[in-house]
Structure formats: structure tokens, C-alpha cells
């Protein structure tokens, strides 16, 4: 077991940067490409220092041409390189949607298995920084709709560091969504990170009364809520999905069969969403194990407002999680009669 002296405190940003540095050192086919990844040091300072260390061939600043440089990443991957394409934010990834959805996700299939696309595309996602409607999208669940790509949502330092390597080793396109409010998150980590997988969900907290299914920055809201609930005698199991496509349904179905209740907390919108998909799978496969209807807590269906109180009101909050769970555990007809 590691001694406390082997531990150190890092930020999510630094953990992500360390993952990049290690990947660049490990394999000379790996290069990083994106807007302001080099001289600027990365919009979120994740790639700070890498240009000096690896040079402009491998740390490539690009023009503001999301479709162009994502497509070049796809082509370079097919051509034998292992590109990491950074899109500044998920909002701008919409300009590259054609390359991601029409090209990267289809090539293996359209070519009858001849051309796989080992590209990794990283981008920030999420609301909470008062950046208003065009800089606050949470569309990772939307990307998870697409067959042919894999979707990762690292919520911890261990994952934002460790998911990069298996993503690069994966023969198919992998999109990594880093929640922007997490970049300043500090956690104690071991001196050496251990390897992680990109196929399973993780149970962060064991509980017996209800299962909280979440991912990304909402993980911490769920853990906060669980801490409050335990004082009131309710033990919530908290599952971090980590991988949004393909979904590890075994982990959340087993948990729900044990706790008999499920609340999905997703910063995405509710309609036609990943939370709807998870709810449906529970209904399809664990309906008779449920003691209460599956519930969801998602963002309000509005473009994200700027004013802080309005933005926070639009997002899932620990208080709302606590209230919903208390009601679910209390049982009854699911209608709040208070």
C-alpha cells in the first residue's frame, strides 16, 4: 500500500496535461493539434509547456477551421499517425460535426472493415462558468447517440490522465469530454497514476437505498447529496458512468437491482437524451426489481442564461437531488403531497 508521502495534490488540468505529455513521450506517432494548443498553451492551459518540449511538428496550432483540422486528424489517423485533436469546446465541435458523424464514425463500416480511424478528439464541455448560451453546451450525450464512435467523460484526475492512453490504443474514434468546471479541481493522487479502462462504469460510493447514476462534473453534486442523505439515514450508491458509449449497463442494472430505486443526474437536457436512454434500459431490464419509478434530474430546457442565479437554477443541484431521493425513498405514489 502506498505511503502518504507518495501522494501529491494535482489539479484536473495538470493531470490531463501529464497524460498528454506521457502519450507524446510514449509513441512518436502521437501529436496534438488544435486551436491555441501551442503558443497560447491551450485555452484551458492543459497543453502549457508542451510546445517547448515537443516542438511545432507535434504540437500544432491550427487556424479556426474545426471541420478542416478534425478531418485532417481523421486522415492522419488513417494514414498511420495517432493524432490527438483538441477542439476548444463542445460548442465549436458543431462546426466539425460533419467530419465526426459523417466521416469518422462511418469509414470502418462503409469500407467493409478496411479502414479504421484511430483518432482521439478531446474537448471541454459543460456549463457553470456564466458563459451563456453559446459556450455552455453539454452535448456529450448527444454524441453518444452515434454508432462508430466511443464517448468518454472523465470526472476524476485518475480518469482524465488515464483514459487518454487506452483511447489512443483504441482502433476506433474516441471522443473525450472534459468538463470545464473540473479543470481547477484539486485531488490527492498517487505519485504514479495507475492505468484505467475505457469500458466500465465505476461505483464511487456504495449504498443500499437508491442508485444515483451520473457522470462528469455532476458526480460531485451526487457525492455531496449522498453525504447529506447519509446523515438522514439514506444510503445512496453513486455510479460514475465514465463511458457514455458503449454504455456499461451491467454496472448500473446490478446496482438498481440491489437498491430498487434509480435517479439519473445529467447536466444534459432531458428530451431525447442519454438520461432517457438509461431510464429506458432500466425499465426494459429491471422493471420488476424497482420499488419506485426511475427518476431524472437534468438541466432545464433553456439555452443557458448568463446571470449566475439563473444559470445555477437551470443546472441540477445537490439540494434537488436530496429532495428527490427523500421523496423516492419515502415511497407512495411518487407524487409530492407536501
Amino acid at each position: 500500500m502506498a505511503d502518504d508521502n507518495d501522494k501529491r495534490t494535482l489539479s484536473y488540468r495538470e493531470a490531463a496535461g501529464e497524460g498528454l505529455r506521457e502519450a507524446l513521450n510514449r509513441d512518436e506517432r502521437v501529436f496534438l493539434m488544435g486551436e491555441d494548443v501551442g503558443r497560447y498553451g491551450g485555452c484551458f492551459a492543459v497543453s502549457k509547456g508542451l510546445l517547448a518540449e515537443f516542438g511545432p511538428e507535434r504540437i500544432r496550432d491550427t487556424p479556426l477551421s474545426e471541420s478542416g483540422f478534425v478531418g485532417i486528424g481523421i486522415g492522419a489517423a488513417v494514414g498511420g499517425m495517432r493524432p490527438i485533436v483538441e477542439i476548444m469546446t463542445v460548442n465549436f465541435s458543431l462546426l466539425a460535426l460533419d467530419q465526426i458523424v459523417n466521416h469518422a464514425a462511418t469509414l470502418l463500416h462503409m469500407s467493409g472493415g478496411q479502414f479504421n480511424v484511430p483518432v482521439v478528439i478531446r474537448m471541454s464541455t459543460g456549463a457553470g462558468n456564466q458563459l451563456a448560451a453559446q459556450h455552455s453546451h453539454r452535448l456529450e450525450g448527444w454524441y453518444a447517440h452515434i454508432p462508430g464512435i466511443k464517448i468518454l467523460a472523465p470526472a476524476t484526475l485518475e480518469d482524465v490522465h488515464g483514459m487518454l492512453q487506452p483511447a489512443l490504443e483504441d482502433p476506433d474514434p474516441v471522443l473525450i469530454f472534459e468538463h470545464s468546471v473540473l479543470y481547477n479541481l484539486q485531488q490527492e493522487v498517487p505519485a504514479e497514476f495507475s492505468a484505467v479502462d475505457i469500458s466500465t462504469a465505476r461505483i464511487h460510493r456504495v449504498g443500499s437505498d437508491v442508485t444515483l447514476i451520473t457522470y462528469g462534473a455532476s458526480l460531485y453534486k451526487c457525492l455531496d447529496a449522498a453525504a447529506t442523505l447519509t446523515e438522514q439515514g439514506i444510503e445512496a450508491e453513486v455510479i460514475d458512468l465514465r463511458v457514455l458509449r458503449p454504455l456499461d449497463e451491467t454496472t448500473f442494472l446490478n446496482s438498481v437491482r440491489k437498491t430498487r430505486r434509480a435517479l439519473i443526474v445529467d447536466e444534459g437536457w432531458r428530451s431525447g437524451s442519454l438520461s432517457a436512454e438509461i431510464s429506458a434500459r432500466i425499465m426494459e431490464q429491471a422493471f420488476y426489481d424497482l420499488d419506485a419509478p426511475v427518476e431524472r434530474l437534468c438541466s432545464a430546457e433553456v439555452p443557458m442564461p448568463y446571470a449566475q442565479h439563473m444559470e445555477q437554477a437551470a443546472l441540477p443541484q445537490p439540494e434537488a437531488i436530496v429532495a428527490m431521493i427523500k421523496r423516492m425513498v419515502a415511497g407512495g405514489d411518487g407524487v409530492d403531497h407536501e
Partner: protein
Amino acid sequence: MEKTSPKLTELFDRDTAVERLRQMTLLRRFEEKSAELYSATKIRGFLHLYVGQEAVATGIIPYLNPDDGVVATYREHCHALLKGVSAASIMAEMYGKQEGCSRGRGGSMHLFDAASRFYGGWAIVGGGMPLAAGLALADKMQHTGRINCVFFGEGAMAEGEFHEAMNLASLWQLPVLFVCENNLYAMGTRLDLSEAQTDLSQKAASYNVASRAVDGMDLLQVTEAARQAISHVRSGQGPYFLECRTYRFRAHSMFDAELYREKAEVEQWKQRDPLLSYGQLLQKLGCLDDAALEQLEADVAHEVDEAVRYAEAGSWEAVEDLSRFVYSET
């Protein structure tokens, strides 16, 4: 655009000259057969024919090395044939058979062949250009000496991906040959109704890319320009933009009533049929006599018949395999 053609004897020896005629004849007969099979409902989906434009691909692809990459559009049967994808595997693909070059998963618009480095077969206009630039970046970073050639229509030049790929290819001096097959119509919209600047090479110039415009109905002009363009790209001088002015004789796809152009215009362009005019030139120069031409046609007809036979004899992929090739099988 250049007005004069180079002399045939400056470009080809006799065998090469005849080989180019054989290639163009194969492209034409293969597609005529495809149209027939479409009407017979053997081929379904969309079918976009290249008839009339054969001199463009025939003037360029034979001058690429076997390991150079080619990226094309949904009107790509002929590019695939010239790059070395067999007529049989293309026909089987259009039949939807698993012996097809894309196992029947792609169809007419999505021909792929790793062995001949034929990278599609892309049906989102403009979408193949960043891919070609990416292949070129990989080649440049790995010092392979390979180049990549991407074909697209003039309609694609209105897409952002053309401008983004062109700028990046020039900025990073990538080994890409951009070939614009300007057939004057983006589906049914005439060039001057879709582009404010119809002199397309000026767009290349604005990205600091060397360019040239040639008569795409003239195999000799295309050949001479292609050799120069390929040599430019291979020598590490960055990308090159070659505009070939050509014309599509047939409808955009099989669902096109051609309301947007006059029959007389089509007939006028057919006077400049690249296959007929090149064949006549060869006969005039004494490169082949009637008997040799007859033999050439017979050989091509045999190849096309064999392709159809192969496609007919092909098998359907098992439905149980439906979910294969979404992710790699590792």
C-alpha cells in the same frame, strides 16, 4: 484555360497512347452497363455516372504511384477502376454483394480498397478534402514520399471544407493534389449561379496554392498538366490545384429530369466527347487500325461482362453480421 494541346507524341509512346484509349473505353462501357443494370434494378440506391468526364481521371491517375492515395466523391467508379480496384469488385459492390470492394456496405457511392490505396467514395460534398489533407500530413510526418490526390466537383468549392483544407494544406505544405472537375453544374445549379467568382483558380491563388486550368475534355492537356502538378507536389513544394473544365453528359444521378439545362447544350458538349475525339486522333495518327479498335472494344466488353458475371455469382452477407464493422474487431 489553355487553348492548345501538346502533341501526342511528346507525351506517349504508342503502347501508352493505346492503353489510355483502352482505359477510357473501359470507363465508358463499365458505366453504360451500370446504367443498364440500374434500370434492370440489379443496382439500387444512387448511381452517379462519370460519362463525359473520363479524360480527367484518365489523364491523372495513371501518373500517380501505386502507393499514392486517391480520395474521390460519390461519382467515383472510374477513379477506382483507374487506381486499380477491379471492375468485378466494383460491380459486386453495386450489386450489394459481399464480394464487393466494400463488402456491400458502401454501394456505388462508397467504394474503398485498402490494397490499391483508394480511400473512397465520399458522399458529403467537400468532406473528402480534409481527409486527403490528413493522409498527406501523415505522409509528410512519416517521410513516406507518397502524395495524395483528391477529386471533387466545382460545387464542392462552395463548401467550407474546401477552404479549410486548402488553407491548411498550403499552411503546412502538404503533398496534396486538389483536382477540381468543373462540370459546370452542382447537381442542377450552374456555376455562375453558385459562385460569385467563377474563375476557380483564383480561389487557389488566395491560399497561395499553385494552380492551373485545363480543358478537361482533352486527354493530352490533362496529361501534360497532371505530370507537372504531380511533380510539383512530389518535390515537396506543397499542394497544387488543377482545374479540369469538363461536362457530365448524363443526368446527375438516375433521378434527374435535367430541367436545368438545354438539350442543345448537352449535344454541343457531346461534340467534344473525350473518348471519341481521342480515338479519332489515334486512328488519324495511325496508332491503331479498325481491327485493333475492334479488338480493344471486344476486350473491354469481355472485362465488363466478367465483372457482371462475378457480381451475379456473388453472395449476400449473412444478416447475422449486420453489426460488424461498427467498431474494429480486435
